[in-house]
């Protein structure tokens, strides 16, 4: 269960704006977080609070395969991302590192920047506490839930391979 303030962005938020390539010469999560969203929102990295939530439109995380993108978002303190849809590599990367993301077009449309929302990632229930509206995101298939429950793909794999 997460509760936080919303940072809202539009459609096709690409991984080049989530973490510009000029910072990919580092693999340190805190270095990446310091420049997260820099190319579309210069205020984000300095103002984001632990637990805040990003709400995006369609095709969130499109572009490059850089796992640095969900790593940067996670390390910046964001608790989860809700979007109308996710680009597939970003979707995989988030699951693989155990970072919660939820697909919900209705929530992505209605929720506004600055709203306080609470999110139950297991049931997919989203409550906009500012407006009182509720939404339901698609639950993950059991296979993917299992990967997240194990803490990501590698712990899952380690257990499977023994």
């Amino acid at each position: 269960m997460f509760k936080g303030k919303v940072w809202k962005y539009g459609n096709n938020v690409d991984t080049d704006v989530i973490i510009p390539a000029r910072y990919l010469n580092s693999t340190k999560a805190e270095d990446l977080a310091a420049h997260c969203m820099e190319d579309i929102d210069r205020s984000f990295a300095s103002s984001v609070q632990k637990g805040d939530i990003i709400v995006g439109g369609w095709n969130f995380g499109c572009g490059s395969s850089r796992e640095h993108a969900p790593i940067a978002i996670q390390a910046s303190g964001i608790s989860c991302v809700i979007a109308a849809s996710f680009a597939r590599i970003f979707y995989r990367n988030s699951i693989n590192i155990g970072f919660p993301i939820l697909e919900c077009p209705q929530a992505a449309e209605a929720i506004q920047s600055g709203d306080i929302i609470s999110v139950d990632t297991t049931t997919g229930k989203i409550l906009d506490e500012t407006t009182g509206e509720t939404f339901e995101a698609k639950p993950f298939p059991p296979f993917i839930e299992n990967i997240i429950a194990k803490g990501g793909l590698l712990p899952y794999l380690k257990e499977k391979l023994g």
Partner: protein, 419 residues
Amino acid sequence: MGMTMTQKILAAHAGLAEVHAGDLIEANLDIVLGNDVTTPVAIGVFEKAGFTKVFDPEKIVIALDHYTPCKDIKSADLCKTAREFAKKNHITHIYDVGTVGIEHALLPEQGIVGPGDCVIGADSHTCTYGALGAFSTGVGSTDMAAGMASGQNWFKVPSAIKVELTGKSGPCVSGKDVILHLIGEIGVDGALYQSLEFTGDGVANLSIDDRFTIANMAIEAGGKNGIFPVDDIVRDYIKDRFQREPVIYEADPDAEYTRTVHIDLSALEPTVSLPHLPSNTKTVTEVEGMPIQQVVIGSCTNGRISDLRIADSILKGRKVADGVRCIIIPATQEIYLQALKEGLIEDFIHAGCAVSTPTCGPCLGGHMGVMSAGERAVTTTNRNFVGRMGDTRSEVILASPAVAAASALAGCVADPRKI
């Protein structure tokens, strides 16, 4: 119900008689790829999870191509990490400065990937090898780590869009124009989670390099992969290159597609994508005359020998316009050498171009051609997002090598048919 070409490859690698769109499967991998940006992250994840050995040192490829020759100390540290991991794990396919090329030009050229393969790469443009009839898709670093550890990964079996190509393209229309046109038609998420399967009698009129360019940018339509049937053009290409036995799959006649997109190649015009989305396409005639300061001809999309020959046919004996920086980057050492032998490099230098050793460099705003605020480039690369090639106020227009070369001469977006 029948299977698509992609579904057949996935079923075979999962040991299943059949798979259906939406199934979650675990498939065996023929090749696992990473570069200097993504491999160090994968190594961190691999080691943190307690893995000490890769599944097969001959099936892992590390290409140090993004920030090389290293642009700064941090990127040198990344390469060192990758190099040491490769040495420790006896990875045979490590390509470093001197042998490295841009990964998606390099792997097919070196015969590392071929028809029927199931390939993952921690680089979004891994979908390029679909030109050879392989299933290949871009993944992240954790996926690469999982692939290195186990030789397997999980996939959601994709549904597919059939792209039916007919006819033969006219002058100055190449694979790049085909894929930009398609992305303009279906949008940057038009093929989200799906395969793009290219078919039709027009395929025979596309060179292997055209097909690499088209499959390469399937990701710019959101696609999981782009794939072409295996024909004589593919067989000729892999002959004397591909070391393993090719396995040729064909889509079943009753395979299911969510939609069919028809493209008449003879009706296509040279096409460009304006900032800041690849789907923002226009024909070159609609946007001729927009002033530019830079041209880049290269990348995993368009740095192959036929791309350089096209550029040469326009640049030879002419001069790049004042105020334009034209940067040409052969994608691999083999391509570079071939271009040297054919006299292309000399032509480029006489025309006033800068020619570089293979690197991804400027495509992602890494180095070798980063732009300042207010500058605009015509490039043969694959993305034109905000800040992609430098300052957030710079602009990238995606185009074919012919349009890029013509624009370098004109100092503005130009139609190569008028040169």
